[in-house]
């Protein structure tokens, strides 16, 4: 490692002064430097990162980098750099030392579960495809990260493309697949470019293509770009899309491991799942299993977002608590309000209320609380977030993304959304809550695919933990003061008559009255919140 103090010696090594006068001059100059400057009397004190950049340390210290190994130190598309940092060593080990069953045992011992959201044991998928006697098999990487605001897989594809390819190659060799696809959503053009570049470089170097590193094993990978459909993240819809058909899921069983792409046995795993594979093989034994909880081994990449002070991507060991993530790593809630809930799993997930913040992040624990690990999206919500509005927002998304095939998802989620919209507009009726809940449970248990089965989750979990907010909406109130139809803006006595609000109101709802308490015309007010943000004396009340 090069340190700043080494700089001088290095420069002098390369730039030796030639003439004698010069040499003398440099000698005198350096002597004076040593006497006169602070550096020799008071050397620079080097403080550790956690003292000088506390927030960086807080953010980084609890993270464990498995999928994001060498985070910050490695050039995404530099193959030599990847190779120099144990790159493709795991693949070599699998091809030269271990047999496929041993590889699967390694994966099984380390408890790797699918990171796309369902948490299905990876070794079972690989085993099923491996034991299938069919000649042609496929390998697929699901890079159609569709959750709004989630960007874990994007980061992995953009920053660690070789790791993904290595993981896929290991899987392909283990199960006997010789052809594969990376389904990457077109909204990630950089990811497409980097993976494409990585595939090309691997091919040139003999790490992909025919007869990889002279082993007789062949694997040809290509990219298929998605076209803007969240439902194509569902594995059967994804495969339909690769085959050139409309992305509509089909009934499972049969599972892709039995009948996948073009009815052939197919391994289909999430990006993050593949990135964990090389680490597991290289570190062997049960190193991965040593991290995490009993049922959920290893690490998970999360995307922290919402009202959090320090948002971004983090990779943490399973079993860490929500509290630690939000407060220690994320720095707590920005803006001074209290944490209300954390929404995990995006539109398929549920919320964990602040009272349950000490919940360890683990597949089964989250499911038992009515939430879902999902692909890793974590949105921190504070008191100014309306839980009914949040449920409505997510349901609006899933309803819009439904493929439209099955009755319960296509029409059921629409009717649920009708009720939520009515609630947010103040037209809710007392019978609405029961109807919403019944419909939600029915849609959950009768939909054909994961989209319909999980779309009711945000509704059910907010009903479970925040039913009082729903009831308030029926009475015409929004406790979080968010739903426009249910709130009024008014001026308090703190008003100093500066008329800034009247000047900035886009709806001309405030009459210009200098030195007097201003008044907001409720009919004209569009609840944009501009007056509140410009008021210097915090005299605007929203209720």
């Amino acid at each position: 490692m090069v340190e700043p103090r080494d700089g001088r010696a290095i420069v002098l090594r390369h730039f030796k002064p030639r003439p004698v006068s010069r040499k003398v001059g440099v000698l005198i100059s350096s002597l004076l430097d040593r006497i006169l400057t602070d550096e020799s009397w008071k050397p620079v004190t080097r403080y550790s990162v956690d003292v000088r950049d506390g927030h960086v340390a807080e953010y980084m210290d609890r993270q464990v980098h498995v999928a994001t190994e060498h985070c910050g130190h490695i050039d995404p598309v530099d193959l030599d750099e990847y190779l120099a940092n144990d790159g493709f060593m795991a693949l070599e080990k699998c091809v030269k030392e271990l047999n496929p069953q041993e590889v699967i045992d390694q994966i099984k011992r380390n408890g790797l579960r699918g990171r796309g959201g369902a948490g299905f044991p990876t070794h079972l998928k690989w085993s099923a495809v491996r034991s299938n006697t069919a000649e042609k098999k496929y390998i697929v990487c699901n890079g159609d990260e569709g959750d709004p605001g989630a960007f874990m897989d994007r980061m992995l594809m953009e920053s660690y493309p070789y790791r993904i390819l290595e993981g896929m190659a290991i899987a392909a060799h283990t199960v006997g697949a010789d052809e594969g696809f990376l389904y990457i959503r077109a909204e990630y053009p950089l990811a497409v470019r980097r993976i494409s570049e990585a595939i090309d470089k691997c091919r040139q170097r003999g790490l992909l293509g025919n007869n990889i590193v002279g082993s007789g094993f062949s694997l040809n990978l290509s990219i298929v770009a998605g076209a803007g459909a969240f439902v194509c993240g569902e594995e059967t819809a994804l495969m339909a899309s690769i085959e050139g058909r409309r992305g509509m899921p089909r009934l499972r069983p049969p599972y892709p491991a039995e009948q996948g792409l073009w009815d052939r046995p197919t391994v289909i795993n999430n990006v993050e799942t593949y990135t964990a594979v090389p680490w597991i093989i290289r570190n062997g034994a049960k190193k991965f299993a040593a991290i995490g909880t009993n049922s959920s081994k290893g690490t998970k990449v999360f995307a922290l977002a919402g009202k959090i002070a320090r948002g971004g991507l983090i990779e943490v060991p399973m079993g860490i608590s929500m509290h630690q993530i939000v407060h220690d790593i994320g720095g707590g809630i920005a803006g001074g309000l209290a944490l209300k809930a954390v929404q995990i799993g995006g539109p398929s997930g549920g919320c964990i209320p602040a009272e349950l913040a000490h919940t360890p992040v683990d597949y089964e624990t989250l499911t038992s609380l009515g939430a879902m690990m999902g692909s890793g999206g974590m949105v921190a919500l504070d008191e100014s977030d309306c839980m009914v509005d949040i449920a409505r927002y997510f349901l609006q998304f899933t309803q819009n993304q439904s493929c439209g095939k099955c009755t319960f998802c296509r029409i059921g989620t629409r009717r649920m959304l009708d009720i939520l919209e009515r609630l947010c507009e103040g037209h809710g009726k007392s019978a609405d809550l029961d109807e919403l809940e019944q419909l939600a449970r029915m849609v959950k248990k009768t939909s054909l695919c994961g989209l319909g089965k999980t779309a009711p989750n945000p509704v059910l979990s907010t009903l479970k933990y925040f039913r009082n907010e729903y009831e308030a909406h029926i009475q015409g109130r929004c406790p979080a003061a968010k739903c426009k139809a249910l709130i009024t803006y008014s001026v308090t006595d703190d008003c100093i008559g500066c008329t800034l609000c009247a000047q900035s109101c886009p709806a001309e709802a405030i009459q210009f009255r200098p030195y007097e308490t201003q008044e907001i015309d409720a009919e004209k007010c569009i609840r944009c919140g501009t007056c509140k943000s410009v008021c210097p004396s915090d005299a605007i009340k929203v209720q």
Binding site: A229, R246, M248, R250, L251, P253, Q399, N400, Q401, S402, C403, G404, K405, C406, T407, F408, R410, I411, G412, T413, R414, R415, D418, L439, M442, K444, K445, T446, S447, L448, K453
Partner: protein, 523 residues
């Protein structure tokens, strides 16, 4: 050969068959709408869901392969509730009328739209058959009925209602004047007899329908001639007596015995009727003081107390209808009573549970939205309502045909084969359970023989699949996402191009009235 249990019954099946197949082997019926033998299961309507022990969600029987050891329930409360919800969700997004508003408004629910189409096609024998299925005295009613059907006629919102009453009168008059007026088929005599008290419209209608079922009918009336109020209250110039006589004769011709000039309650006792006959239908005119007691029946404010659905009185085997059970109402209501009471009496005499006639489910489109009337008008004549100048105030042949072409064909073209209608009725699903704004009515007539109404489509995908299997060049496909997904011909081609060869099969496969033939509808 997997062995599995369905509804606690064991069955062994071939490997690879579905739960639906296995259930069929046991004779257990599971409802399906989007499934058609010979084609890949769509698994879209989800009405065939069943509970398999050990699986969290409900699974569609049509697509789930039967496995060894499966334990399946097909008819628990949970399953029934799921089926009902599927139906109610589909109904909340269904645009169309099963029966035209005219048929709904008619107390006898006569299939008016069908009759009108048959008159337009010149099929007058078929028309009178259609009429007499529900109305026993059409020539009479064609002269005195205030026509609530015309009040409900959708055409009224554009110009004037279709002249339904006169069209029915025309069909009836043509029949009465023909060489051989239509004689309904009657079942062979079963050996049971019904006494009918009152030869008015209710009693005459009851006799007509009971005779068709093969029951012996004897009508008692205190007057010397049959007809009741029709003869003794309605003026002659409104209802010529020869028309009345001819129409009564068509009923008598089925083999009805008349005992005129005998008042039940004085000349003949109710006890005697109850002894000598297997059932009694009381259809005397509106009650006067003492009538109820003389008949041995309970009454409340001049109306005999009856069950509204079955017309049963408090006395076993005695039914009542017409003005005797409700204050003076429309004659057509009395005629309908006679028809409906005949259903109850038939059930009673056949030893079945008496529930009265089954009300068929009816989907209603309601008020038309802007632009929708034009769609209905595009298939009808634009003539204004024709005033009659035929024989004594009725339509001439040519007028009847022209007036009949003004009908907008509001009724669905597949009212009897529609599976959505059938299962809604069977499971008692409610159309208004999930209230929502109705989609706009759309009709695709870009095919010479087929009409496609996407508002009735349940997105089953059968037509898409069939067109695909037949390798149609254009075919059909799903377009859009979420709630807005519709089946359409891709790239704005016409339906004729989309279903160049395979239209007939698609129409036959369509489980609702979405895809139907433009020509003659089902009866």
């Amino acid at each position: 050969m997997p062995k599995l249990t369905i509804d606690n019954r064991q069955v062994e099946v071939q490997t690879g068959v579905t739960i639906l197949d296995a259930a069929e082997k046991l004779g257990i019926e599971i409802p399906t709408m989007c499934f058609l033998r010979g084609h890949k299961p769509s698994t879209s309507c989800m009405i065939c869901v069943v509970r398999v022990e050990g699986i969290d969600s409900l699974v569609p029987a049509c697509g789930t392969i039967a496995q060894e050891g499966m334990r399946i329930e097909t008819n628990t409360e949970e399953i029934r509730q799921a089926r009902i919800t599927a139906l109610e969700l589909l109904l909340s997004d269904h645009v169309g009328d099963c029966m035209g508003p005219c048929q709904v408004a008619c107390p006898a629910h006569m299939n008016i739209s069908l009759m009108i189409r048959q008159i337009a096609a010149g099929k007058l024998r078929a028309a009178i058959e259609t009429v007499k299925k529900d109305i026993a005295l059409p020539a009479v009613l064609g002269r005195i009925c205030p026509a609530p059907c015309e009040n409900a006629c959708r055409r009224r919102q554009h110009d004037k209602a279709v002249s339904i009453c006169l069209l029915k009168r025309y069909a009836a008059d043509v029949d009465l004047m023909s060489q051989q007026p239509f004689m309904s088929h009657t079942h062979p005599n079963i050996g049971k007899h019904v006494a009918i008290v009152g030869a008015g419209p209710a009693g005459l209608a009851a006799a007509y329908y009971l005779r068709r079922q093969g029951f012996g009918c004897t009508i008692y009336d205190e007057h010397d001639e049959p007809g009741g109020m029709l003869r003794y209250a309605v003026p002659e110039q409104k209802l010529p007596r020869d028309v009345l006589d001819k129409e009564i004769a068509t009923i008598a011709a089925l083999g009805v015995e008349f005992k005129l000039g005998q008042r039940v309650g004085t000349a003949v006792s109710m006890e005697k009727l109850c002894r000598d006959f297997d059932a009694v239908f009381v259809a005397v005119r509106q009650l006067k003081d003492g009538d109820a007691e003389s008949l041995g029946l309970g009454a409340k404010s001049d109306c005999i107390e009856t069950d509204t659905a079955t017309y049963q009185t408090s006395v076993k085997g005695v039914f009542a209808g017409g003005d005797a059970v409700r204050r003076r109402r429309l004659t057509v209501r009395a005629v309908a009573d006679g028809k409906e009471a005949a259903v109850s009496i038939t059930q009673y005499l056949s030893g079945e549970q008496v529930t009265g006639p089954q009300k068929p489910f009816n989907s209603r489109m309601g008020k038309l939205k802007e632009g929708e009337m034009e769609i209905f008008l595009s298939g009808a004549s634009d003539s204004i309502r024709i005033e009659p100048d035929g024989l004594d105030g009725g339509f001439s042949n040519e007028q009847a045909k022209r007036e009949a072409q003004r009908c907008l064909h509001c009724d669905c073209r597949k009212p009897t084969s529609c599976k959505l209608r059938r299962y809604t009725q069977q499971y008692h699903a409610k159309a208004g359970k999930y209230k929502a704004e109705r989609r706009t009515f759309v009709q695709n007539i870009s095919h010479p023989n087929v009409i496609y109404e996407p508002g009735k489509c349940i997105n089953c995908g059968l037509c898409v699949e069939i067109a695909g299997e037949a390798k149609e060049k254009i075919g059909l496909t799903f377009i859009g996402r979420g709630f807005e997904v519709r089946v359409e011909v891709p790239f704005d081609h016409s339906l004729a191009e989309g279903l160049a060869r395979i239209a007939e099969e698609c129409v036959a496969a369509c489980p609702t009235g979405a895809l139907a033939f433009a020509g003659d509808s089902e009866v």
